[in-house]
Symmetry: C2
Subunit: 235 residues, 2 copies
DNA sequence: GCAGTTATGTTCGCCGGCGTACGGACGTCG
DNA sequence: CGACGTCCGTACGCCGGCGAACATAACTGC
């Protein structure tokens, strides 16, 4: 396994050298185990996290326990945007969907850097806008598209953030993310498997035919991806 | 009718005097007629708008024409946040839902003010966070709540931004906003009318029993409102 | 290798929202 | 005052996702 470096996070990598040198001493590498809650709804945030090789889901949880994922964050972004947006808390929950590591920064350091009005500010704002796009697209998708399409979209978004063609995730967890029943995922995943698009076995999903998966997905995937590429720059 | 002043917009009103004096000469009062498209999906934004007595809906429109409202903006906020977020465009459409007037600022002036790093920047960022909350809550609401509850939420959010107890809006338009069939609205509104909560007639809705309306709404309304109050300050 | 837990497959009735279609009521403008 | 357009009410079949319940199969720990 390659060593973890801050450059594995795209926001950090694109900072000018001066800012990187100023920031790096304050970055702390932390491990992000599967299922860990990075922040809870309404709790005061203490750090911002820059994922390197993990994925974090932003979830809204209703009082009755029902939930829905509103965005997913990988090495293209950061977890805890409300720290610099000024709110300090958000009504959402952030939970590690795929384990790995992340660099974190204390809220105070972040604010300090933010107030210098350098590239970090603009990078974070652009990222936040791509996050907004993702949330909005999720809202429309929840309204109009079939579960199977949403599953395809979700798989693609997760794969993009992981690299490779495999991810570990039970149907139960996917159902929580998408805000649907587990049985619905079983059926949809069964259909995809029958089509030869994926292979599924006890929490291991392998994508066999990515082009086909993209065909079966709704356009929401491309909308999110192209806007993200536009705002954050490719590569 | 009272004269329109910039202070009718809550973001402008809360700016320190120095910033207000600097900005006011550049504000231009424009009329916002019902149905006007403030910006189109993907189009380059030229101005940011600060509503005084109108309501603007942010819509996502799919290729097949289906749509869904992802947020609604009144005098508590601004239309065109992507201007300072760095993206310049967004994949959404902004359309006037209730006519009135707004102050607008050119993108260049806005950027100029934004870069001064004064209160305007923080006010806009806090507002953007409340917008994010609204979008996320809409996504969950679309997933889990019944149409009737969503209608109540929508009525309440619109009323809050208008003041008073009446709004003009056909069922057809409401259906577009919520991303459902017109018939669904007819039925839900019919039930509310039978309960004596609203009175409905040819594009005129009058709320007769607001407390009841709040009861029938999902908690999403309160979630959005309380977060908005927290971030923007009440009054 | 057995027991208990976890993950997946399957069924059945139910209901809310969709697509479609039609009819009636109100308003307005010539 | 009559014709047309807008707005609203209603009906019917359809289907996807829900809720609940149960069956199997694969891992895990002992």
């Amino acid at each position: 396994m390659a060593a973890i470096t801050p450059e594995m996070n795209q926001i950090l990598r694109r900072l000018p050298q001066a800012e990187r040198e100023r920031l790096y001493p304050h970055l702390r590498l932390v491990s992000m185990p599967l299922g860990a809650v990075i922040y809870e709804s309404g709790a005061r945030l203490r750090h911002i996290y820059f994922p390197t090789d993990c994925i974090v889901s932003l979830l809204y949880v209703l009082k009755n326990g029902a939930s829905a994922e509103i965005a997913v964050v990988g090495n293209e972004g950061a977890v805890g945007v409300s720290l610099f947006m000024g709110g300090e808390t958000t009504p959402s929950r952030a939970i590690v969907q795929s384990s790995g590591q992340a660099y974190r920064l204390t809220g105070a350091r972040l604010t300090q850097e933010f107030e210098r009005h350098g590239e970090m500010l603009h990078a974070l704002l652009r990222y936040t806008q791509s996050l907004i796009t993702q949330m909005a697209q999720t809202a429309v998708c929840n309204r109009h598209h079939a579960l199977e399409q949403q599953l395809c979209r979700w798989l693609l978004l997760s794969l993009d953030r992981l690299g490779g063609d495999e991810l570990r995730m039970t149907q139960e967890l996917i159902a929580n993310m998408l805000g649907v029943r587990r049985e619905g995922i079983t059926e949809a995943a069964g259909r995809l498997q029958k089509l030869g698009v994926i292979r599924y076995a006890r929490g291991r999903i392998k994508v066999l035919d990515r082009p086909r998966l993209e065909q079966l997905s709704c356009a929401c995937y491309f909308a999110v991806k192209s806007e993200s590429d536009r705002l954050l720059g490719t590569g």
